[in-house]
């Protein structure tokens, strides 16, 4: 495909959507104008032009193979590219997540946008600057050493008036240089060139709170969201979901929707959908269609019985066995031996619920599958993997599938975002027209992949003086990879399974990062079999952060339990048990700011029915360190817990945009509180019963803190760590510790709903 993308770049990255009879993909590409040198539809990481392009109007476009899920990544990447290129940041455009235009950098995953995703962009921009400076020096008739760059221009250092702009140097042609590719795809992908990135000390744009460029459009209604994609001739579809989770459709009564103009049914194996020309007609048809479903016997334990179920269910896998992520062998024997010889053994079980991603906008997908090619519009976190999976499902070569990423509702992991695009692709192939699938609320909350429930068992062996001589951590729960983190194969999606593909058996949970330096430590996970193997509303996948809120809840509460049982302040005990200076630094910073006092013994003094407490928790992961102090008010009559003030400190190494990071940290605090306080998937013997915002509530604005204090550690000497998750993970633990400090009662199950807290307080005082 030798197409010139100069015009495309002139229009600042706006994609031209065209449709013709010659195939959805070809027409779209023809409408677009691409770079002469780049190897579409699979842009090679080895070409500088795959990463950076300079247009005649002086705009630079950087092609980013990840996506911005609303955490400010687009702006941060523009800052990094602008920094290395010596360009004004407002003249750097970002094209993200389009599989035709960007290399597969693995999508949004594990807070890797900056810590991994920015690296090839930084290196490519540094190389582009070298290439431009070199060509500029030639045009100015001076040696390379005699020139410098600023504001998108090359100038002679000794005569700054002699200068030439990048656009004039490039003149609309490709940069035409190769870079060295590490041969990885996905998140580890990196490239390097002869041009070296700047020293941190020389940064002018990186480290500044540049205004987030995605914000104005979001507030003015002009952002190009996925939900706004409207293709000519597009049909609207809705999927039918059974009232009993394992039921499949047997037959339907077409007459039941005959009154709705243009509405029809698509029934393919276990997939049942209605389509209509107008969206409301599709909604009505889905409600009115009479369906006969199978009546499978169901015996789920229900949400109240789920933790006993986990305790008694056989373990089917552990991290000691070969798994997708490799095995991490562990040996419990030394720990058991040390526990047996301990003067005192403490044990506690902690319980974590299933939780729903519950995106504010349920899954959307638009697909145009015609004449042997497909164009799919998604807001998935991993568009390149969706491309692989949809190609496989439709029986098309990957080259014939283009996935275009659009801004969408936040998704926080492997949410429902990957589902509707697959369904739309199946329906569009079936019907020969573009199809838009929009999930309804009951699907977004009831049928998204869930964060897995678990029971985490902790044991500590203490000597006569109270020193820890053995430490045992076992997480036993449902697999976090029940469906995979990337929907790169159709059996990981509902519709794939409905069409008869058997789900791959994969297992994963989590053990905390090494933090506490206790002797005879063992940390391992075990998984139990899923409640329903195929097409289950209880299938599990990762949710910010994968199985980590569950595991840290146990670890960080149990650290407090041991500290308090041995008469030590939780802060002092932590500081004495860790060795990583960056962990110590965030602990000290957050407790200083929050005015932590070792004298605040539990239970604290009450004022009327209100009990006051504060709790601490630590986190280490994604190359970042976070610590938080939560101050709560517990109403002993109603059980309501209000986190009135939260103080968080985060060390994520080099910070690209502190302003963005502050709001990301605040968001993590509130979302973390929501999950700690109120979020729990409810289900009965046969299906999920939390299916909307009344039955699956999230934290209301009335209940958010009065104050959230954020402390950003200044560590430009350290590599950037992931920032999207660290301040959320330990929230349930910090709140649990604060409730104990307020009431003297230890709650070992979250969420801390008012009813649960009230019951625990009543039981304690009885």
């Amino acid at each position: 495909m030798q197409i010139n993308r100069r015009d495309f770049l002139k229009s600042s990255g706006s994609l031209v959507v065209g449709v013709s009879a010659s195939g959805a993909l070809q027409s779209l590409i023809a409408g677009e104008a691409l770079a002469e040198s780049v190897s579409y539809p699979n842009p090679s990481p080895e070409l500088l032009d795959t990463w950076i392009s300079v247009a005649r109007d002086g705009q630079v476009t950087a092609f980013f193979g990840k996506v911005d899920m609303g955490l400010g990544l687009e702006t941060a990447i523009a800052q990094i590219v602008a920094e290395e290129l010596d360009m004004p940041v407002e003249r750097v455009n970002i094209v993200a997540g389009d599989t035709l235009l960007t290399a597969n950098q693995g999508g949004a995953s594990a807070s890797s946008g900056i810590r991994a995703g920015a690296i090839p962009l930084r290196n490519a921009a540094a190389e582009a600057r070298r290439v431009l400076a070199s060509a500029g020096a030639e045009r100015l008739g001076v040696p390379f050493e005699a020139v410098a760059t600023e504001k998108g221009e090359v100038f002679v250092k000794a005569e700054p008036a002699r200068r030439i702009g990048y656009a004039s140097i490039v003149d609309g042609k490709p940069l035409g240089t190769k870079v060295t590719w590490n041969k990885e795809m996905g998140t580890p992908l990196n490239v390097t060139g002869a041009g070296k990135p700047k020293a941190v000390a020389d940064y002018k744009v990186v480290g500044q709170s540049v205004a987030r460029r995605d914000i104005p459009g979001k507030m003015l209604g002009t952002t190009d969201y996925l939900t706004n994609v409207r293709l000519p001739g597009m049909l609207h579809a809705r999927l039918l979901r059974p009232a009993v989770a394992a039921a499949v459709p047997v037959s339907y009564d077409a007459a039941s929707i005959a009154s709705i103009p243009g509405a029809r049914v698509v029934h393919k194996k276990d997939m049942l959908a209605v389509v209509a020309e107008r969206e409301w007609d599709a909604v009505r048809a889905a409600r009115l269609l009479k369906v006969q479903w199978t009546e499978p016997a169901m015996n789920w334990p229900g949400s109240e019985g789920i933790h006993d179920h986990i305790r008694s269910a056989p373990a089917v896998a552990s991290n000691g066995e070969s798994a997708f992520a490799g095995k991490r062998v562990y040996d419990e024997t030394p720990t058991y031996r040390a526990l047996a010889g301990a003067a005192k053994v403490m044990t506690a079980d902690y319980e974590a619920p299933f939780q729903s991603h519950a995106r504010i906008g349920p899954s959307v997908g638009v697909a145009d599958v015609r004449d042997g090619s497909a164009v799919i519009y998604v807001d998935s976190q991993k568009p390149h993997f969706v491309r692989m999976g949809i190609a496989k499902l439709l029986g098309l070569p990957q080259d014939k599938v283009r996935v275009i990423w659009k801004t969408g509702a936040g998704s926080y992991g492997r949410s429902d975002a990957d589902e509707a695009p697959y369904e739309a692709a199946v329906l569009s192939q079936e019907l020969g027209r573009p199809v838009r699938v929009q999930w309804m609320r009951h699907e977004g909350t009831g049928w998204d992949p869930k964060a897995p429930a678990a029971v985490i068992s902790m044991k500590a062996g203490l000597d006569a003086a109270g020193a820890v001589g053995a430490w045992y951590f076992r997480a036993k729960g449902f697999s976090g990879w029940d469906v995979k983190f990337a929907a790169d194969s159709p059996e990981q999606t509902l519709v794939g399974m409905q069409l008869g593909m058997a789900k791959t058996d994969m297992h994963n949970f989590d053990v905390p990062t090494e933090t506490y330096q206790f002797p005879n430590t063992v940390r391992f996970w075990q998984t139990v079999a899923p409640l329903q193997v195929q097409a289950s509303p209880m299938r599990c996948a990762h949710m910010r952060a994968p199985q980590e809120m569950q595991s840290r809840f146990a670890q960080e509460c149990f650290v407090d339990e041991v500290a308090i049982a041995t008469g030590r302040d939780p802060l002092a005990f932590r500081l004495a048990s860790i060795k990583e200076p960056r962990e110590m630094a965030v602990l000290k910073a957050v407790t200083e700011k929050a005015g932590w006092s070792a004298a605040d013994h539990s239970p604290r003094k009450a004022k009327g029915d209100i009990l006051f407490g504060r709790g601490l928790a630590l986190y280490n992961g994604y190359g970042s360190y976070a610590a938080l102090v939560v101050e709560v008010e517990v109403n002993r009559k109603t059980g309501r817990v209000w986190a009135r003030k939260v103080t968080v400190a985060q060390d994520s190494g080099l910070i690209i945009n502190p302003g963005s990071l502050k709001t990301v940290m605040e968001g993590n605090v509130v979302q973390g509180l929501s999950r700690a306080m109120v979020e729990e998937v409810a289900f009965n013997q046969s299906t999920v019963t939390s299916v909307d915002w009344n039955t699956y509530p999230i934290l209301d604005i009335k209940d958010v803190p009065e104050t959230v204090e954020t402390i950003i550690m200044h560590r430009p000497d350290m590599a950037s760590g992931g920032a999207g998750e660290p301040t959320l993970v330990s929230m349930a633990a910090a709140v649990g510790n604060a409730i104990h400090n307020a009431t003297g009662v230890r709650l070992r199950r979250y969420p801390f709903t008012a009813a649960r807290v009230k019951a625990a307080l009543e039981q304690h005082s009885a």
């Binding site: 003015l220 209604g221 107008r278 504010i360 709001t663 605040e666 915002w693 604005i701 803190p705």
Partner: protein, 153 residues
């Protein structure tokens, strides 16, 4: 199909829609407006909010036949190219992550401030209660509403 006449952002439109069609579907599908968004279809999140004669209304459960006033939408707030002071405040505070719910918070804040130009903290939380933000940007939203109140007072 029934024809309904609607005034949206100061312009009259005649749309073809069954009387039970929620206003949201008419605004998005017939008029191609992108401010109000589908979030729940149950009046539980406010993502679809529009103003009808100054009142914040959940358009996802409002049948088009029941609309009896002038409709204002997010895009209408900044008609003429100048953002509404509430939009300016939300932009200044960067009060969004994904931004999908921003429409609901902005439209309800406009309704709040038109009625109570100097709201107390309790009034702000009370009037915005029930709106959903999944990303958890509430702290910035609260700052934005306070900023808008200060700017317009």
């Amino acid at each position: 199909m029934a024809k309904t006449t609607l005034t949206v952002d100061g312009r009259a439109h005649t749309v073809a829609a069954t009387p039970d069609t929620p206003l949201l579907y008419v605004l998005r599908e017939e008029l191609a407006l992108n401010g109000p968004k589908f979030g729940c279809g149950l009046a539980q999140c406010g993502t679809c909010t529009v103003l009808i004669d100054g009142r914040a209304v959940r358009s996802c459960v409002t049948p088009v036949a029941a609309v009896n006033g002038a409709v204002r939408t997010l895009e209408g707030l900044s008609a003429g190219g100048k953002p509404h002071p509430v939009q300016d405040a939300f932009i200044a505070e960067e009060a969004a992550q994904c931004g999908y719910c921003a429409n609901g918070w902005i439209m309800n804040s406009v309704a709040l401030l038109e009625k109570h130009p100097k709201p107390s903290e309790a009034q702000i939380r009370d009037q915005l209660s029930g709106l959903k933000c999944r990303c958890g940007t509430h702290m910035a939203i609260l700052r934005a509403v306070r900023r808008a109140a200060a700017a317009t007072a």
